[in-house]
């Protein structure tokens, strides 16, 4: 009997049974599969099959079948096995397909195939009607770190700092943050007993599971522990006004969310309002456009740009 046939029959049997079945009962019902004369080799084959089923996500539960708890029985609980009904709109189905195909490996795509197999209608048209393919490849460590965060596990990995030093870290994973297109894991660095963030692209090894981690402290927010990038202004209450030359105005307003064109100057330069608050590094952003931008308001911003230019000229 082919292994696959044996496995299909085993799944069917354990899904259909109303009471847990002992190995002896399984052996007599699936006599062609496990009916060897040697009970031990039959039992070994059954154990292997059970492992295969668990590996592909089939939930097999073990329960005592007598009051003395001497005999174990096996069953597949239907509510944990069957995909629940999820009603997706055709737009959601094509969005999932687009997302599944960006990862560079098949696992997300397999998840979508499974979801679609259980969804109602519109699947083939969604497959055909996708606007356009998106390629790409995710960080290979993301799934392992995601699993650690999902289950609050402790992980060990080798980490390279901005200085270029590499060291071994043991971290209780608490959260994941995506910022500036980069993934960070936030958690308690066990040796330092501090909450730290680690950029996945700086991992210098695979991620090893070290068992149960710990609960994050009350009020923990992963995003609070990842420093904002150096680019562009952040959230702000007040606004600054800058003028951009016609050559770069289109570009400048795109890079910054909440930047807003508010008019055109006589010389053709575009006036743009950007969120800003005192103490922020907006002057650096303004200077990165060189002579194609002029800071207008508030005066503090204008003064800072000028003083930085003076410093640059003095340094030469």
């Amino acid at each position: 009997m082919q292994p696959l046939e044996r496995l299909v029959n085993l799944v069917a049997l354990l899904l259909e049974t109303r009471t847990p079945l002992t190995f002896e009962q399984i052996r007599s019902k699936l006599s062609e599969a496990y009916g060897h004369e040697d009970v031990n080799s039959a039992k070994r084959m059954f154990e292997r099959d059970k492992d295969i089923l668990r590996d592909i996500g089939v939930p097999i539960e073990v329960r005592s079948v007598d009051v003395w708890e001497a005999e174990q029985g096996y069953t597949i609980p239907r509510d944990r096995y069957y995909l629940p009904e999820i009603t997706f709109t055709p737009e959601e189905i094509s969005a999932l397909l687009v997302a599944a195909r960006t990862g560079g490996d098949r696992s997300a795509e397999d998840a979508v195939r499974t979801l679609l197999s259980g969804a109602e209608g519109g699947i083939m048209s969604a497959l055909a009607g996708s606007t356009g393919a998106i390629g790409g490849a995710r960080d290979a460590r993301l799934p392992a770190v995601g699993e650690a965060v999902a289950s609050l596990r402790r992980i060990r990995f080798s980490y390279r700092t901005a200085r270029g030093d590499t060291s071994e870290r043991v971290v209780d994973a608490y959260g994941l943050v995506l910022r500036g297109g980069r993934w960070y894991v936030v958690g308690r660095d066990v040796a330092r007993d501090e909450i730290r963030s680690f950029r996945l692209s700086r991992f210098a090894s695979d991620v090893a599971d070290e068992g149960d981690g710990s609960e994050p402290p009350d009020g923990f927010r992963a995003a609070d522990h990842v420093q904002a990038g150096p680019w562009g202004p952040g959230e702000a209450k007040t606004a600054a006004v800058v003028a951009f030359s016609p050559e770069v105005a289109w570009l400048a307003t795109k890079g910054v969310s909440a930047a807003e064109a508010i008019g055109t100057r006589e010389d053709g330069w575009t006036l743009v309002r950007v969120p800003w608050q005192p103490g922020e590094s907006l002057a650096g952003w303004v200077l990165s456009f060189g002579p194609d931008v002029e800071a207008l308001e508030p005066p503090e911003l204008r003064d800072e740009v000028v003083s930085r230019l003076e410093a640059a000229l003095a340094a030469v």
């Binding site: 696992s107 230019l309 030469v316």
Partner: protein
């Protein structure tokens, strides 16, 4: 004696086929008369694989495996019917690793600005998390935070042209030269990297493969011309590759400018006594470095080349003139 490869790979292969069967069969049970080619496309299998799997179902079922207990499979005129398999009428849930991968990939994509499908994707992920519950995603949905960036205007045009293999005429602002130029491109792949959209294309202006960042494209015009894909490296290609003519630039950074070493590709980094860094980085063009140094001001010094130092000073003089 070492075990033969066959002994080790055979079970794995069986597990992959089993996993597929437990998903394909429910679809076929629920959609009687599904065309063979539709099932092939939907599940990404060849006709032979599909028919082999169906063959096996003929002899599967429930004890005592009499004629009335076996799964009923009928393939006729290129269509498939499956009966007597009520216990396989719903698919097995997606594996935890698959569901996690989909959730994280989807989250990243939904938070990358400009994607038309983003709202639908977010709501689909919410439904997924609610329906699959902690078995599949653990506590993940509550523990992921993602933030969006700026706007992208041309994404849908780029994706359509990539799918339809249409040559485009674009105006593009290259940061390396700080210039906007017009060129014709044959776009082969659209992808996300570091939170930005890129298109990998054959650039007719330079007669070479180039990556274009979507938010630096000023305009896109359709040409109506089709192209044959050249099989470009696309997303697999690093965003920066060192060329023979690249200059070696050395900078001294103050502690406040340490982020530069993190943000750009460097070839050497060493600590300075004041808490700053000295870094070496390769550069093909100096224009982008001039602007970076202008922004850093007193937080960075050029060690070499001298040409860069002079050019920064010149740029600072020209910029200073705006404020008189």
């Amino acid at each position: 004696m070492p075990r033969s490869d066959g002994a080790r790979t055979a079970p794995r292969k069986a597990s992959e086929r089993l996993r597929r069967l437990l998903v394909v069969v429910p679809y076929l049970v629920r959609h009687p008369g599904t065309p063979v080619d539709e099932a092939m496309e939907l599940f990404g299998v060849s006709e032979q694989e599909l028919l082999d799997d169906l063959d096996l179902l003929f002899v599967s079922g429930l004890p005592p495996y009499g004629p009335g207990d076996l799964i009923d499979v009928d393939v006729q005129d290129g269509r498939i019917w499956i009966g007597m398999a009520d216990y396989f009428s719903r698919p097995l849930r997606p594996m935890r690793a698959e569901a996690l991968a989909l959730y994280l990939q989807g989250t990243e994509l939904a938070e990358t600005p400009g994607l038309e499908e983003a709202p639908a994707l977010s709501s689909a992920l919410d439904k997924l998390a609610a329906a699959l519950g902690p078995d599949a995603l653990g506590g993940l949905p509550a523990r992921v935070a993602a933030t969006a960036g700026g706007e992208v205007e041309w994404l849908e045009d780029l994706r359509r042209a990539t799918t339809e293999r249409e040559r485009l005429r674009i105006e593009y602002h290259a940061l390396s030269t700080a210039e906007t130029t017009e060129r014709e491109i044959d776009p082969e792949e659209v992808f996300v990297a570091l939170g930005n959209w890129y298109v990998a294309a054959w650039d007719h202006r330079s007669d070479a493969e180039r990556l274009f960042r979507a938010d630096r494209i000023r305009s896109v015009a359709r040409t109506g011309e089709r192209f044959e894909p050249r099989g470009l490296e696309g997303a697999g290609r690093p965003l920066y590759t060192r060329g023979d003519e690249d200059l070696d630039v050395r900078l001294r950074l103050s502690p406040d400018a340490r982020w530069v070493a993190e943000y750009y590709e460097t070839t050497a980094v060493s600590e300075l006594d004041d808490g700053g860094l000295e870094i070496a980085l390769p550069a093909r063009r100096l224009e982008w470095l001039e602007r970076l140094l202008l922004r850093l001001g007193a937080d960075a010094q050029v060690v070499e080349p001298k040409e860069l130092k002079d050019r920064v000073a010149e740029l600072a003089r020209r910029t200073r003139k705006r404020y008189v």
